[in-house]
Assembly symmetry: C2
Homo-oligomer: 155 residues x 2
């Protein structure tokens, strides 16, 4: 269950391997606690909190959780998701995708990504109007995922 072979889907195996690979590429070591964290991360699916990750990885110190999380961010293996209420969640970066955004379910917390950045036009005009040299942007979309909509509809 915690190993990297088990009954996992090919996707999750690849994901874990990718994570380890990213760490190695960044010049970091693959240690037991890190392996456990990576495993927990992919077991938790599309989104997780630092707190949840710590809870799902007993025996791993809190500091290590945060240190590893920061490492994974540097290596761009995971990214932060800003929730509606300002809370932070984390998410596996999809296939090392570079720039992308999140659409978050405000009920169940599910996170999906989208890369289509049709705001380039908007940004260009914004740059023209404000005189800014635009570097980046942060776009998070909030709503109800289809599952939650169904559940609510039934209730």
């Amino acid at each position: 269950m915690t190993g990297s072979g088990g009954g996992q889907t090919i996707d999750s195996m690849v994901t874990t391997d990718l994570l380890e690979h990213e760490l190695l590429r960044g010049g970091h070591r693959i240690t037991e606690p890190r392996r456990r964290l990576l495993s927990s991360i992919q077991a938790m699916g599309d989104h997780f909190t630092a707190e949840g990750l710590a809870a799902a990885s007993p025996g791993v110190g809190r500091a290590t959780v945060f240190r590893t999380l920061k490492l994974l961010q540097e290596v761009e293996a995971v990214c932060q998701v800003v929730l509606d209420d300002g809370t932070l969640q984390y998410r596996l970066t999809p296939n090392n995708a570079g720039h992308h955004h999140h659409i978050v379910c405000s009920r169940c917390g599910a996170v999906n990504d989208f890369a289509s950045c049709d705001i380039q036009g908007l940004l260009a005009e914004l740059a023209r109007r404000t005189g800014y040299d635009i570097e980046t942007h942060r776009l998070e979309v909030y709503g109800r995922c289809s599952e939650c909509r169904e559940e609510l509809g039934r209730a």
Copy 2:
């Protein structure tokens, strides 16, 4: 200096009055500490931090700063700005504008608003593709304001 008459511009006076008005409309009282905070807020211009507001309002307790800040947010008189690094800033809501976004200078921290939400098309397609019922979104743009660009260019 702390009063509402002083050498202030008409704009800032109006702003302060608007703030007081919003508080009243929300069923809240206008007290001395609050008056001081409102005054500090408009004196600080387009953006400020809780910390800065507290510093600019000596004699007003930290708790009151945060309580008032929360109040002003509820009344939609000020809004939060998420900085590049995840830090929070606050900003006067421009003319009670409803939905709007921020463009933040990553060097000097200046904040400007823009309301042009040309992402409706993007959001619509996103809704279609993901099955989400989209409620809101958060868009923050980061870059260098024209002044900072000039300064850097000169250096």
